[in-house]
């Protein structure tokens, strides 16, 4: 909810201000507190959803201004939206956060020590596949040449905390693969036309996930269309409050998917942002687009897939933007349970953020690290050999922390398991 342009709201100016109704919906009951990862770690009111809403409301009521300290507490917020799931009053926390971040960003209010340059760098690289591809080529060399082994082995990056955190997250960068065909025919009777969103991190770090997604959709009877010229969906920009940049990217993306029945995302963060295009671009094209967006698990859950047995003990981690952002929890589990021979064990606190939260783990390594450690402890307790999660960020974060904690589990996207089990005739 935003008031696009109108009267200023206390310390907020009139452009994309957070909604006063949204702020007032909070009754201060605190039910969100135990669900908030940063509150669980810090136990402080101002790093809880209730406290953050209170600060935003205080700013809207002119009790305080938008300050660097407030920015700090908002920076620490993962944007996981577990609070929205818990909130009985329907406070639209995610949108309030994004609106407030947007205002602060635009007016240059930042927490002292905030790493704006890293964020800016990431936001500038991701929307441009060419730039991202080039950077990754360099990183691939770094890995293949043995430099990474040297750097990691001798802890050469230790004095550069941020850089070290980024480096640690780096999964093996795959060799460039041939791009997916623009159109893939369905197998069997045609169910419809699905447009596949390639994503940024996904297409470069986990191209196999995209390939598997396409295979599964095709097996389910969809004609799979992969628009070549698609770029970034703008999720990272939105979550950082760069609303105008989001709008620009959305306007470039929407027309590419004009002729499909369903727009399929396999990265939770992307899917969530796409479903919210209608909120930030109040026009029909955006609305019609958002209405057609589905996560791959939602699409496949409604289809019959021929599956061979796959004997594995798997536990499922809920990516925040899938569980809380899109309220998709049952479908991925249901799909995994369909695989014969697969044992799905419950992961306690499965909905608690792993610490990835987009690029949060690059900007707030300490908090992200603590959450990563806690997630691995929960995974270890299940005794599972495989962890499945529907978001590339989660995969990177969980993989990195498993390695750090010496836990040998395979970390994969659910579609990878489904594709493995897929019976191909």
């Amino acid at each position: 909810m935003t008031q696009a342009t109108g009267t200023p709201l206390g310390a907020f100016d009139a452009t994309d201000a957070p909604s006063m109704d949204g702020l007032r919906a909070c009754v201060h009951c605190g039910i969100c507190l135990p669900q908030c990862p940063t509150y669980r770690v810090l136990g402080e009111e101002m790093d809880s959803p209730r406290g953050r809403v209170y600060l935003m409301r205080a700013a809207a009521e002119n009790r305080i201004g938008l300050t660097p300290t407030m920015a700090r507490h908002l920076d620490l917020c993962l944007g996981c939206r577990a609070c929205e799931t818990a909130c009985p009053s329907g406070v639209p926390f995610g949108q309030l956060l994004e609106a407030t971040r947007g205002q602060m960003e635009r007016r240059g209010i930042a927490a002292p020590g905030r790493d704006r340059s890293t964020l800016r760098f990431l936001l500038d690289v991701f929307p441009h596949p060419a730039r991202l591809g080039a950077m990754l080529h360099g990183l691939r060399m770094y890995q293949w040449s043995g430099m990474q082994a040297l750097v990691r082995g001798f802890g050469l990056l230790a004095p550069f905390k941020k850089l070290q955190a980024m480096e640690a997250l780096l999964p093996p960068v795959p060799a460039p693969t041939a791009p997916l065909p623009e159109v893939i025919a369905p197998r069997g009777p045609r169910r419809g036309r699905a447009g596949l969103l390639l994503g940024c991190a996904q297409r470069f770090f986990y191209p196999d996930v995209n390939a598997d997604t396409a295979r599964l959709l095709s097996a389910a009877g969809y004609e799979v269309v992969t628009p070549r010229s698609q770029e970034c969906c703008g999720a990272l920009h939105l979550h950082a409050g760069h609303v105008d940049e989001l709008r620009a990217m959305a306007r470039r993306l929407i027309p590419l998917f004009r002729d499909v029945d369903v727009v399929v995302a396999n990265a939770a963060g992307c899917g969530s942002a796409l479903k919210e295009y209608a909120h930030w671009l109040p026009d029909d094209a955006a609305r019609l687009f958002s209405e057609r967006v589905r996560d791959v698990s939602e699409v496949l859950a409604g289809c019959d897939l021929p599956l061979r047995p796959l004997r594995e003990t798997v536990t499922y981690h809920d990516a925040c933007h899938l569980a809380h952002g899109q309220r998709v929890r049952a479908e991925p589990r249901e799909l995994l349970r369909r695989i014969p021979g697969l044992t799905l064990v419950d992961l306690p606190d499965s909905e608690l953020c792993c610490g990835s939260a987009g690029v949060y783990n690059l900007l707030e390594p300490e908090m992200a690290g603590e959450l990563g450690r806690r997630k691995i402890a929960r995974i270890r307790e299940t005794g599972a050999r495989v962890v499945a999660a529907g978001n590339p960020g989660c995969l990177m974060q969980i993989r990195q922390h498993c390695r750090a904690q010496g836990l040998a589990v395979e970390v994969v996207h659910p579609v990878t398991l489904l594709a493995r089990a897929l019976e191909e005739r």
């Binding site: 009951c29 605190g30 136990g43 101002m46 009985p88 009053s89």
Partner: protein
Amino acid sequence: MALPSHILRALEGIVGPGGLVVSPEGLLTYECDMHTFYKGAPDAVTLPQSAGQVAEIVRLCRHEHVPIVPRGSGTGLIGGAMAPVGGVMVSMTRMNRILELDWENRCATVEPGLINLWLSQATRERGYFFAPDPSSQMVSSIGGNASTNAGGPHCLKYGITVNHVLGLEVVTGAGELVRLGGKTHERPGYDLTGVMVGAEGTLGLVTSVTVRLTHVPEGVKTILASFSTIEDASETVSAIIRAGIIPAALEMLDEVVIRAIEEGIGAGYPKGAGAVLLIELDGPVAEIEAQSGPIEAICREHLALEIRVAKSEAERALLWKGRKEAAGVFGRLTPNWLLQDAVVPRSKLPAIMRELQDIGARHRVVIANVFHAGDGNLHPLICYDDRVPGELERAKQANDDLLHACLRLGGSVTGEHGVGLDKSQSLPLQFAPADLNFMARLRRVFDPDSIMNPGKLLPSHPACGEGFRPAARPLPAGTWI
């Protein structure tokens, strides 16, 4: 009013820089609990991690004549966890571990910041749970529950928090770190544990709690009975108690609340009913089977429109989620509210509900009801909008009338929420000067320098003497409602 730097330095020395909040933004978030009507920011917030640190904080504050305000999860409804005259807030949220689960003695020792529900979650597998179940249990802390002697829907059968507390470790207002009670159920001497429970942080800060664990019942049956009027539902409640049946829980919700719950949570309550009763029986299967027939018959005798029995644990859980999260959906009903917690004798329930409707009509305010009908513990939610001139005044009038009506019927000011700031001025309606004076002197025994949670629980009243005013800081005029 900022604290002098030497005190801040000393506090930082005790809890470390990471355990001290002094920024204006941070302090602002601690200025109220769930009852946002009462706001008062502390001058500093400390987040200790051990009883030793708590004791040092209290001793420092006593020495410096600085008031102390304890805080758990900040979900209270009485303006308890806020600092009307500033001072040091002590937040127990980082002391949230289960210290010991003693299966042989069937008790648990926990830190005060532990969330109530988390204890039951940790013990359920072994067939035990922590019985006091306030509606806030998914977020309220056990220390907070002990400090307010919290109730909840199932206290009808199982009793309130004090009936389940075996011992407390506390730091008194005099700075003494003492262990009251313990695992043994019998102890010579005065029942200091019993007095400390429900003392709302005015006698001491709780640093650990030893509680009884209760065996999970063999069976449970949850019945939802809907009625066209509150009258019919109230008569049903009286009749059930009269028949000598004590359910495990007996809750009433009216149509205003049902609408909000269904909108916000979608828990399966029947929209269009004037009132519903959520009745739960638990215990040996043979017993609940034999009791549910008579209960259903009583409901039918009192014109129940529909009687539904939850068919699965999931359905039951959803019905309770609707009930327990009702506080959260208040936001959908009304921008602002006043909430009462008065109790009437059970036999007077139909009468008070009639009176309540009259009061609402008389003052032109909507009064929503979701409460523990089985104990006569009302929770009338008086709705108003602070942006509309005159509504707050009418709401306050209705609040007053209602309280007086409850007391006239032989009831009590507060059943389970506690007194805090919200109800302290109402105590003289229930207690004579000699009674108030006794309580004030009791307080001074534990808090000789009057630093513990000033302004709470006891009223500004001559009978309470100078005792409860903090030594060096006079109360600002007009603070009280």
